[in-house]
Amino acid sequence: MNFKNVRLKLENKETSFENLVKQYLDKIEKGVQLNAFIFVDKEAALIKAAEIDKKLENGTAGKLAGLVLAVKDNMAIKDSQVTCGSKILENFVSPYNATAIEKLLAEDALIIGKTNMDEFAMGSSNENSYFGPVKNPVDNSRVPGGSSGGSCTAVAAEMAMAALGSDTGGSIRQPASFCGVVGLKPTYGRVSRYGLVAFASSFDQIGPITNTVYDAAILLEVIAGHDKRDSTSAPVTVPKFSKALDGNIKGLKIGLPKEYFSEGLDSEIRESIENTIKILEENGAEILEVSLPNTEYGIAAYYILTTAEASSNLSRYDGARYGYRAENVESLEDMYVRSRSEGFGNEVKRRIMLGTYVLSSGYYDAYYRKGQQVRTLIKNDFEEAFKQCDCLITPTTPSTAFKMDEKTDDPLAMYLSDVYTVSVNLAGLPGMSLPCGFDSNNLPIGVQIIGKQFDEEMILRVGDFLEKNLALKTTG
């Protein structure tokens, strides 16, 4: 179900919102083995639903009344838990709301629960959660992708109408692709990060995960905007994103970065993306090949910079002020070391170690500074490409959803599954994945649309056009 239609049904009094919320709660209960949620407050949801029904009745309902939203458990909701998928924050209760949450609640969105995720958003398979892995709703033997795997699973399995995720290197787009839903990572600075637990601060962005491009546009309209509590949020005006979906793609110049179609790309994905491109071409878009020559260095630069930022950000978990504290500690030092060592999972520790190493004395210039210089080159590549075209089209991932445990023993292989998504974060661009087909195993394939900074309107417009013209059918 998409929000646009639901809202119409509610306004026409075809159903009550409370009834609808009951259906979603039912789906959550029936799908509990997918492990998509860490926390669901059934009673609170039903009380809130009745309140929203009243508001709909007397005409005071906000723009998002009727929306059943799931939120990744790294965003703060007042008086509610924020675990970040970690033992170290297992019992943390937020004393405040994230800005994005505040804006959604002000428009009467209903938050049905907090979704599972890779610990501290570090992972591409959702197997790194302290609360257990999430299963792909399309094929339970496969991963849903990560780190917003719980959010994408919730939307794909109709446990929520939409969800919020966060994206540092592909954490919205990759699982959206694996689960067959729409996932939008806005431009860096478009959405306030206030109340989003920090992983890599110069990369992290909150974005919507939805069933339709229109719903993504509506959600972005609400959560976007400058926030004085996040000095990195951009003081730019927020367009009416939903108005950009005019179906007009004639004359648009669409670039295909050749490096994204080279070896390593699954042949069925290639075929599906080529079919998608054909639809755009047949409808008057101009397709041209472009080059992003430094693409192959994206993953390396990404892992240097994000682990460095993470090692610094995660130093706040010291067992002193909040979060897990080890028992029977002997000294202050012992408290720090044991609380952190017992509280963090393996992948998080590995990244803190890598980040500490690249920032340590004697290595800083060789790794961290070098990584930042390569970031400049990657950003320049995109700027050059965008001189010739309005947006780029690429596959979202090199393969469809992989099997559980397939990559858990090989961190590097796991990192490489983000090859088509990390550059977008390195350059701070907006990117969206939407379903464009299925492979022979009936697994969803995602196409990624990349836009210029603060030009989400372009990718939404192209995405909406594709959604309406692709007419997806499963092969089975």
Partner: protein, 96 residues
């Protein structure tokens, strides 16, 4: 590229983490593989390239230095593993 167990111990000290002997070996091995991979960056010439600290052009963001409401002491201490007399409580730092 290789990373020794001693190096792992040194990084762990900086990161305030501890590992068992087996974990140290595994960590040395995994870090070496990842570091070897990221050294790929040495293939590119970055002479005279400015580093990107921030992807969106925002410089220093200032605000007026005015007091504003903040969380109450009670709210702040609510998540403390241990607190006493309105303070966070930690193991003794100075011996008698």
């Amino acid at each position: 590229m290789s990373i020794s167990v001693e190096q792992v111990e040194q990084i762990a000290r900086l990161a305030k983490l501890e590992f068992s002997d087996d974990e140290k070996l595994e960590m040395a091995d995994q870090l070496a593989k990842i570091v070897e991979y990221v050294e790929k960056l040495n293939e590119i010439n970055t002479d005279n390239i400015q580093p990107t600290y921030h992807v969106v052009d925002i410089n220093n963001v200032f605000r007026e230095d005015k007091t504003a409401d903040s969380l109450s002491q009670e709210e702040v201490l609510k998540n403390a593993p241990k607190s006493k007399l309105g303070y966070f409580s930690v193991p003794k730092v100075i011996d008698k």
